[in-house]
């Protein structure tokens, strides 16, 4: 019997020895940082000093600790927490009690609140801290541009977001696709393209998000083409992207975006709520890589949805809107909409009119061209199932792309505000 031929490729380690696995890069470099080490632009890995918060809070509980520290040390008077009634339902509630902040810890992809409109009711009379998704923060910034919210009084911890899911739909999917009793679910997480549900017995149940989305059971449509995944528009941009295996589940990657963000992070360290280390270069790269992959997927979905829409005519638009019952919910929930009850879209519109497309919609299409943040709140609440976010984006995409204007990401003046009447004349 002849010896088998060595088929190993050139450069491969000698047969009999397993290939050396390159150890994963560490998440951090150096020691635990002092408050004075924190600076705008700094990227860190942080965690809560309290063990129970590290356990309960997502990714080491840094966000919870920063918010708790801000409240207890008087940087803010209130924190907005999500009060959970079950795994699929929670409401934002204002609290001044730090225990509520600790109790609200945890990640929830199924709970779509609307912090922008929520904050409006306080009329800038309170110093408030809250955790936000990138689109939430985009709405807050658009309101600020329209003088409706004062960012000096709002502290935001931005959370990475790969997308959110409609709670009722996911409840159904849990039962019908996962074969799990929805009431048994205790936690959920999105990891490596899978939606993982943890049941009371500690079991993990996972499904590919791609497969769920093929049946329209995954993320909301607007999330699938969203162009902002890391909330770099908030004071602190946090999340688990970039956290290497040594800190997986135990640490949060945080990038300090503003001086206010630095102040709040320093406060959390100084007050003994959190600890941070500098993020390693590979950790920062890994974060960027995940973001890049997510954005590439979004760009693909955007093309799939909007390129076919280019050939739509006014008749198609009329058809899409024919079931509108005039509830006005799309305007009410719209985060960038700063108008009150006497808005142009409502004032110029009369339900007794006979226009083919109501002036309400026409005005909103125009208004949202330079302000739509693509959050999808309008589609969520439409009782006639009109794909409103898609329609608003149809008009907003060309304008915002042309002007390279990403709404709600910075203080740039909205394009329509820059138009000078005398120049037009």
């Amino acid at each position: 019997m002849s010896a088998p031929e060595n088929t190993a490729p050139a450069g491969a380690p000698p047969a009999g020895k397993p290939p050396e696995k390159k150890p994963p890069a560490p998440s951090t470099v150096g020691d635990i940082l002092k408050p004075s080490d924190i600076a705008v632009g700094g990227k860190y890995i942080g965690w809560s000093v309290r063990e129970e918060i590290r356990k309960e809070g997502g990714s080491g509980g840094l966000v919870t600790s920063v918010l708790a520290g801000a409240l207890e040390k008087g940087l803010v008077k209130h924190v907005v927490v999500l009060k959970k009634s079950n795994q699929y339902e929670a409401v934002p509630v204002l609290t001044s009690d730090v225990e509520d902040v600790y109790a609200s810890a945890g990640s929830m992809h199924m709970l779509i609140s609307n912090p922008t409109k929520y904050l409006r009711q306080f009329q800038n009379d309170a110093a408030i801290a809250l955790a936000v998704k990138p689109c939430d923060m985009r709405g807050i910034r658009e309101q600020q541009k329209r003088n409706m919210l004062d960012l000096d009084k709002i502290f935001t911890v931005g959370l990475n977001c790969g997308g959110t899911m409609m709670p009722y739909k996911i409840r159904k999917v849990t039962e019908e696709v996962y074969g799990v009793n929805p009431d048994d679910v205790r936690a959920e997480e999105i990891e490596k393209g899978k939606l993982i549900l943890e049941t009371a017995d500690g079991e993990h149940h996972s499904q590919s998000i791609d497969e769920l989305e093929e049946e329209d059971n995954g993320r909301r449509e607007n999330c699938r083409y969203c162009v902002v995944k890391i909330a770099t528009n908030s004071d602190l941009a946090c999340g688990n992207w970039g956290v290497m295996p040594d800190y997986a589940g135990k640490g949060t990657f945080v990038e300090v975006m503003t001086e206010k963000g630095a102040e709040f992070l320093r406060n959390a360290i100084e007050g003994g709520y959190a600890e941070v280390k500098e993020a390693s270069e590979p950790a920062a790269e890994a974060r960027g890589k995940v973001n890049g992959i997510m954005l590439k997927m979004s760009a693909k979905t955007k093309e799939e949805i909007f390129v076919p829409m280019q050939s739509q005519t006014i008749l198609d638009l009329k058809k899409e809107l024919e079931n509108c019952i005039g509830c006005g919910a799309c305007k009410t929930v719209c985060p960038p909409c700063a108008c009150g009850a006497e808005a142009k879209c409502t004032s110029f519109n009369d339900p007794a009119d006979n226009y083919d497309i109501s002036l309400f919609h026409m005005i909103r299409f125009l208004h949202l061209m330079d302000s739509c943040i693509g959050c999808g709140q309008c589609s969520d609440v439409c009782p006639a199932e009109i794909p409103l976010a898609r329609l608003y984006r149809k008009f907003a995409n060309p304008m915002q792309d042309e002007l390279n204007y990403v709404t709600g990401m910075d203080d740039r003046t909205p394009p329509f505000f820059e138009i000078k009447l005398e120049e037009v004349q």
Partner: protein, 561 residues
């Protein structure tokens, strides 16, 4: 951030059900209380806002125009006796006094389903103590259709609508029960054939079949229901018994029925009061008119707004004691001798049953539920010799009586005896043509803009009674809908309003109108109009006189071709 005023906000959030109709839409209601800077006390009126309950199995966070503006319609009632504000205890004591002083035959209780099952059942217990049944306003209709009543029960869900192959619509979902629309859109996407029967063309329908109020369904060829058909209609105090009987006679036993309900808990109240001997709406009103009735107790039921009798406010005066237990300020509160104010509906604790038969809890997501209404009913029960009612016990009893599961994600229908054989009774009910066919010419009509003949704009006005929700609520939905040809017949012009006169000779000036794809000879309104004196009223429509200060709006009517 140190110089910021801290007004000490306190926020309560309630997981409630919209009280606009019986669809059962879940909604979060937020109460934001603020402490006044000077006194440190919380301001009495909290800021109300709604939030969208996206986990609701009924509406998944979506709401109609009424629901979106729900916070604006929550004007709290104030306890009073003869118009003077009093404490709840005093109002309850006066109500007890009134009940003790009257014979059971002189008392009527009305609860159409405007509040929780627990409060309805508490009222039923008070009624039992006195030997008076609680009426839900539906007895007249159910009495007329006899055993066919068995076919109006629960069992068809909104999800059944989504998966139906054929849907026959007898309601206009753009006006009534609007959250039906998304179910129909889903059904349409899945290939369902939607046929609308009525006076107006609906965009959602593949086929619109003209069925006039006087038309018998036996004469409508397109009405051919089979095993795969879901028929959607509604049950209100004004539902035509003959039409309902025909519907069941033709389709019963084969097709599925989904009967919508006009009031938040109309289904729950109906099932709880199922085996009681009730008085009909008409009985109650005629006894009020004759003075036979001395005490009327209305539990979250605004008889003045519901009734199509424009003299109701006057008729209320015939009562010795009109007692209104109400969670909001209504027309009935203004006319009542005794008002017992309950907490707002959203703030209640308890359950309601929607049109599908789904039992939905109302509870606080954050904050307290004061149980003011239930406690007032308990106090009334005690004052009449009963012992204090325990909320949990009443709740458990209600759930058991309803045969429902306490899980809003599940609908359980109690095992039923087999349905009775369908025997034709519609031919014994008053003829539809006689009821709705003729036209009573208005006695007089005066309009300076009138150029046509006296009856050129004569139409039948149909008040789509099921949007009872809009009664007393400000909105710009106050208009009549008429066909394009009717606009011409009435010489109406765009920018002008219409003057409407009814058979009694009364003229309602400056009514707004909308041109709709609908049958000629009719006018529809979702709002109760001053001329809505019956489900179908004869009216004449004319152009309102030109306003001298607005000559520029005189132009040809811009109507769709």
């Amino acid at each position: 951030m140190s110089d910021i005023i801290d007004p000490k906000f306190k926020e309560n959030v309630y997981s409630a059900v919209c009280y606009g109709c019986g669809f059962g839409c879940g909604v979060f209601m937020r109460e934001l209380e603020m402490k006044a800077a000077e006194t440190g006390a919380f301001c009495s009126a909290p800021i109300l806002n709604i939030d969208y309950r996206k986990a609701s199995p009924v509406n998944q966070g979506k709401l109609c125009r009424f629901g979106v503006n729900l916070a604006g319609s929550c004007r709290p009632a104030v306890s009073s006796v003869k118009g003077k504000a009093v404490s709840n205890e005093e109002a309850v004591a006066k109500a007890a006094e009134a009940l003790k002083g009257a014979d059971p035959s002189e008392i009527a209780f009305l609860s159409v389903g405007g509040t929780t099952n627990e409060e309805h059942l508490a009222l039923m217990k008070i009624g039992e103590k006195l030997g008076v049944s609680v009426s839900t306003g539906m007895t007249g209709l159910f009495k007329d259709i006899g055993k066919l009543h068995a076919y109006t029960g629960r069992g068809t869900t909104y999800e059944d609508v989504e998966t139906a192959k054929k849907i026959y619509l007898f309601v206009d979902p753009y006006v009534s029960y609007p959250l039906l629309l998304r179910r129909l859109v889903r059904a349409q996407e899945k290939g369902a054939e939607i046929v609308a029967f009525g006076l107006k063309d609906l965009p959602i329908a593949a086929q619109n079949v003209l069925v006039e109020p006087g038309t018998s369904l036996y004469d409508v060829q397109a009405f051919a229901p089979d095993e795969e058909t879901v028929i959607i209609s509604d049950l209100t105090p004004y539902t035509c018994a003959k039409r309902l009987a025909e519907l069941i006679e033709i389709a019963g036993g084969r097709s599925k029925f989904l009967f919508m309900r006009p009031f938040m808990n109309a289904a729950g109240a109906g099932y709880l009061s199922k085996h009681t001997k009730q008085q009909s709406f008409d009985d109650i009103v005629s006894k009020m008119e004759s003075g036979e009735l001395k005490v009327l107790i209305c539990l979250d039921s605004d008889l003045i707004d519901i009734c199509l009798n424009d003299n109701m406010k006057e008729i209320f005066k015939n009562l010795e004691n009109a007692v209104v237990i109400s969670s909001r300020d209504t027309s009935a509160c203004a006319a009542a001798d005794i008002v017992i104010a309950a907490e707002p509906v959203y703030k209640k604790k308890g359950s309601v049953m929607n049109a599908e038969g789904r039992l939905i809890s109302i509870k606080a997501a954050s904050g307290d539920t004061p149980l003011t209404g239930f406690n007032a009913l308990s106090a009334l029960f005690e004052a009449l010799g009963g012992s204090a009612l325990d909320f949990d016990a009443v709740h458990a009893e209600a759930v058991q009586m309803l045969g429902a599961e306490e899980d809003e994600y599940k609908i359980s229908v109690p095992a039923q005896k087999s349905k009775p054989e369908i025997k034709k009774i519609s031919d014994k009910l008053p003829d539809l043509k006689t009821m709705f066919g003729g036209f009573s010419k208005p006695e007089s009509f005066v309009s300076s803009a009138s150029k046509d003949g006296e009856t050129g704009g004569a139409v039948k006005h149909l008040y789509l009674t099921n949007p009872f929700l809009w009664n007393g609520v400000s909105d710009n939905d106050n208009y009549i809908e008429i066909s394009r040809r009717q606009v011409k017949a009435s010489a109406l012009l765009k920018g002008f309003t219409a003057d409407v006169s009814c058979a009694c000779g009364e003229i309602v000036k400056s009514s707004r109108f909308k041109v709709s794809p609908m049958a000629d000879g009719y006018a529809l309104s979702m709002r109760k109009q001053p001329f809505s004196k019956a489900p179908v009223t004869d009216i004449v429509i004319r152009r309102s006189p030109t306003k001298p200060d607005e000559p520029e709006i005189v132009k040809e009517c811009n109507v769709p071709q």
